[in-house]
């Protein structure tokens, strides 16, 4: 149990992000990029970007989720260890946005994987993306607590 508590402490103090572009216009991607640069600098809050899904706690998804990418998105989601939180950034990731009705995408991230936080806007500003991450950390904490409670004490 104490290990799980340590996990929760670590995970909520320093969540690592994985950013995944599923077919958006790159607008949200450069805003996520801007959000990690000196002006906003979430690293002072412990938020760090990681290139590997196995190290990540929070998955940031941007873009419309094209059919070709959907299976990869599912696979990446499965590779992230529990507890995990998904943040859908931008209108495209929420509902398909301006590309709604097209033949080649699935209209939103939540059609493929469960989403916990939505950051609307086209494109959302970097500070709102950081706010979304803060909200995600809260959900991460809740999820970690749930795991802690459900695991029997030995």
């Amino acid at each position: 149990m104490s290990i799980l508590r340590l996990l929760r402490w670590g995970v909520t103090r320093s969540p690592w992000l994985l950013h995944f572009n599923t077919g958006g216009c790159n607008g949200c991607d450069i805003e996520v990029l801007a959000a990690i640069t000196p002006l906003y600098d979430p690293e002072r809050l412990g938020v760090k970007l990681t290139p590997s899904p196995r190290h990540a706690d929070i998955l940031i998804v941007t873009g419309v989720v094209t059919k070709k990418v959907a299976e990869r998105l599912k696979r990446i989601y499965d590779q992230i260890p529990e507890p995990k939180v998904v943040v859908a950034v931008g209108t495209c990731a929420i509902s398909g946005g301006v590309f709604r009705g097209s033949y080649s995408h699935v209209h939103g991230v939540d059609k493929v994987i469960p989403v916990d936080v939505y950051v609307p806007g086209c494109t959302p500003r970097p500070d709102m993306i950081i706010k979304g991450i803060v909200e995600a950390v809260r959900i991460l904490d809740e999820k970690a607590r749930k795991i802690e409670q459900e695991t029997p004490v030995r």
Binding site: P38, L39, Y40, D41, R44, L45, T91, I94, S95, G96, G97, V98, R100, P114, V115, D116, V117, Y118, V119, P120, G121, C122, P124, R125, D127, M128, I130, K131, G132, V134, E135, I139
Partner: protein, 133 residues
């Protein structure tokens, strides 16, 4: 080998004020004229549906006004809206109220917050809270 050119700049930056904005403590103000959340003034709206037709994403749906079977009013879905302000531009009676408010972050259990009804100043006309999608 010559010295890396950036070294001096990096050293200088050590003694400068931090470039980082004190973000979570202070809100960052967008530049004036930022296209933020927009609402419909329900009293001004004449229910012409022009905004719903012109919307590039189909984020605006026209709902029947309860009580008045002929009049409609627009409901904006911020989950689909791309904040292009085309609706604000085409509205013949300027019924849209624009703001510089940033679209808020929405949790998975509060998805109904995406759908925003018009503002009705005269409360008599205010439609009773009906089914949310």
């Amino acid at each position: 080998m010559s010295l890396p050119k950036l070294l001096g700049e990096v050293a200088k930056n050590l003694f400068k004020k931090p470039a980082t904005l004190p973000f979570p403590k202070e809100e960052i103000k967008p530049a004036p004229g930022y296209r933020g959340l927009h609402r419909v003034d329900g009293d001004k709206c004449i229910g012409c549906s022009l905004c719903a037709i012109e919307c590039p994403t189909g984020a605006i749906t026209m709902k029947m006004r309860p009580g008045d079977k002929k009049k409609r009013y627009p409901v904006i879905d911020y989950g689909k809206c791309i904040f292009c302000y085309r609706c604000v531009e085409v509205c013949p009676v300027k019924a849209y109220i624009v703001s510089e408010e940033k679209p808020p972050v929405i949790r998975f259990d509060k998805k109904e917050a995406f759908i925003v009804e018009p503002i009705f100043k005269s409360t008599a006309e205010k439609p009773a809270k009906e089914e949310k999608q």
